[in-house]
């Protein structure tokens, strides 16, 4: 496998995906969440305890939305396999000087790129209505690691779906359903409290977006607890499992040999 080839495919993926539709999806939608929920709930909710301190709702929401971008990036990148298969480019690329592994790796690089672009933009957007003190170096490290893991997890999740699903309707309704579930069954918009029903808690704790949101948030306020480290570890394990599932399903996709 030649990593330069995957890099080249990543550039292609980004170039054919920087259409207005993708940008709306990647920037406008989360901005709407940020602005509306930030202002509306910001007036209703006072302080939210996080780690060893407490923050206001806007401060709570902003890192959540940055984390949320990993799932959005996953849809865009994982969905590439679906549209490449559906519109013939998968076969076309595999008859060009690329191996299947290089194609797959190209998509993983793409999910990372979109994850960082998306969360980076949302961090800048939230700067506009928050007055943060600078994020510490360790905070930056935490954010980078969790955004990477999150983008990989969701990229692989949607890639796995793209490897399985054939019809347009099935793919679209499945991704919409999943993205809603993943976003709302997480700590992107609200914290888990003692009042959260047990059944929902399970859903929250299975969902890696909960951990990614928590760790990105911890990075923002530069207060890391041991819980955050455990959360990172769980995210890592879930990501490894998801990568394995995606690779297995991808290998079953017909066409292409070496």
């Amino acid at each position: 496998m030649n990593i330069l080839n995957s890099y080249r495919l990543m550039i292609r993926n980004v170039r054919v995906n920087t259409d207005p539709g993708t940008l709306v999806f990647l920037v406008l939608m989360p901005t709407i969440y940020l602005v509306f929920m930030g202002y509306m709930f910001g007036t209703l909710i006072s302080q939210i305890p996080v780690g060893t301190t407490s923050i206001n709702y806007k401060e709570f929401l902003s890192p959540g939305i940055a984390a949320f971008e990993t799932a959005t990036a996953g849809i865009v990148a994982g969905g590439l396999l679906w549209s490449d298969r559906r519109y013939g480019m998968f076969e076309q690329i595999l008859s060009s000087p690329y191996t299947r592994a290089e194609y797959l790796f190209g998509i993983l690089l793409t999910t990372l790129v979109f994850g960082f672009i998306g969360s980076g933009i949302m961090m800048l957007v939230s700067e506009a209505f928050l007055d943060y003190t600078a994020i510490s170096l360790m905070g930056v490290g935490l954010i980078v690691v969790s955004i990477s893991l999150g983008s990989l997890f969701f990229g692989c999740m949607f890639l796995a779906i793209a490897a399985k699903v054939k019809s347009n309707q099935a793919y679209n309704s499945l991704t919409i359903l999943i993205i809603f579930l993943v976003d709302f069954a997480s700590t992107v918009f609200y914290p888990i409290t003692s009042a959260t029903p047990e059944a929902l808690k399970i859903l929250f704790y299975v969902n890696p977006l909960t951990y990614i949101a928590d760790v990105v948030r911890a990075g923002y306020i530069s207060t890391v607890t041991t819980t955050n480290l455990v959360e990172l570890l769980v995210t890592l394990i879930e990501t490894v499992v998801m990568v394995a599932i995606a690779v297995l399903l991808y290998r079953k996709v017909r066409v292409g040999v070496t």
């Binding site: 080249r8 495919l9 550039i11 292609r12 170039r15 054919v16 995906n17 259409d19 549209s83 519109y87 013939g88 480019m89 076969e91 076309q92 690329i93 595999l94 008859s95 060009s96 000087p97 690329y98 191996t99 066409v255 292409g256 040999v257 070496t258």
Partner: protein, 319 residues
């Protein structure tokens, strides 16, 4: 085109190739053929004959079930990547990126590692050759079917290659676009490009190909130069007879023709064809029969045997 083929002068060599999709029926059932350097080799055959499957195997997209295959002197099941670097493939199914025509061409050149300046040059000349300049800013999904096909074919010429697979490249193209593409391919073969070509348009195959294989049900029924295939029909001519008005009596009338072999039309409205040695005798016989059977002849025409005649009788004979 680099045209440097290393040791072999047969860019494609296939021996007893078999492929099955489902483990039960062979889609390609023991075919052997070879393509020479600088020639256009045509694969002709009815729908489902196995042409696309063969191209998929040779272009490393499918792994053969058995037989031996050499592409540019290498085995596609082990040297896939080295082969892919030197081939171009225009698949039968449409394929496109969700972007504009000019960007689609550029991105494709990019994934082939073509430099920016070279890409710009190639893109402009291809937009011209394929008459796409008017739609260069249009997005792929806003194009007509034939325009999409043109972009797909043009795109493959963004990079150099030694061997080109064209699976029905002209399907959906208007006659002028079709001619342009055929002439471009002809020119490129002069520089040493070898081409494996499929089409259902036999006039086109006649115009472009040096040699053809006629396939049916996964097997090659005949394979030779077009001239050699036609010499099986040496001295033979085709008399075409178009029946006007009521077609009812036509079948019984043609069953009485004894001076040549009758090929009934695929669908009503097309002429009957009689392959014959003695056109004079056949025409007299038909006119006589038309009078006695009171069948109305709309027109009658004599011409040389075409590749289409060869194709039809080969398929009929092999079925």
């Amino acid at each position: 085109m680099s045209g440097v083929l290393g040791l072999t002068s047969f860019p494609i060599e296939v021996q007893d190739l078999k492929y099955t999709y489902d483990g039960r029926k062979y889609a390609v059932d023991g075919i052997s053929f070879s393509v020479r350097e600088g020639e256009v080799f045509g694969m002709l055959g009815r729908n489902g004959a196995g042409k696309t499957t063969t191209i998929r195997i040779l272009s490393t997209l499918l792994k053969r079930s058995s037989g031996s295959v050499r592409v540019l002197g290498m085995d596609p099941s082990t040297a896939g990547n080295r082969i892919r670097k030197r081939i171009g493939v225009v698949l039968q199914d449409e394929s496109f990126d969700f972007t504009t025509v000019e960007k689609a061409l550029d991105v494709y050149g990019f994934i082939w590692g073509v430099s920016k300046s070279e890409r710009d040059k190639k893109r402009e000349s291809l937009l011209n050759t394929f008459e796409l300049t008017d739609v260069r800013k249009k997005r792929m999904w806003d194009l007509s079917g034939g325009q999409k096909r043109r972009v797909q074919v043009a795109r493959e010429f963004m990079h150099d290659m030694d061997l080109l697979f064209l699976d029905e490249p002209t399907s959906g193209l208007d006659p002028i676009a079709r001619r342009n593409i055929l002439n471009m391919i002809k020119d490129l073969t002069k520089d040493g490009l070898s081409v494996l070509f499929t089409t259902h348009n036999l006039e086109e195959a006649d115009y472009l190909c040096q040699r053809v294989a006629i396939m049916n049900n996964g097997k090659i029924l005949a394979s030779d130069t077009i001239d050699a295939l036609k010499t099986g029909y040496n001295g033979l001519k085709t008399v075409e007879v178009k029946i006007g008005g009521d077609q009812a009596g036509a079948e019984s009338m043609f069953s009485k023709v004894s001076s040549g072999r009758v090929e009934p039309p695929f669908e009503s409205g097309l002429p009957y064809r009689i392959v014959t040695e003695n056109t004079q005798e056949t025409m007299q016989e038909i006119i006589k029969l038309a009078v006695t059977e009171s069948v109305q002849i709309e027109w009658l025409n004599v011409r040389a045997v075409s590749l289409e005649d060869v194709f039809i009788s080969t398929i009929a004979g092999g079925a």
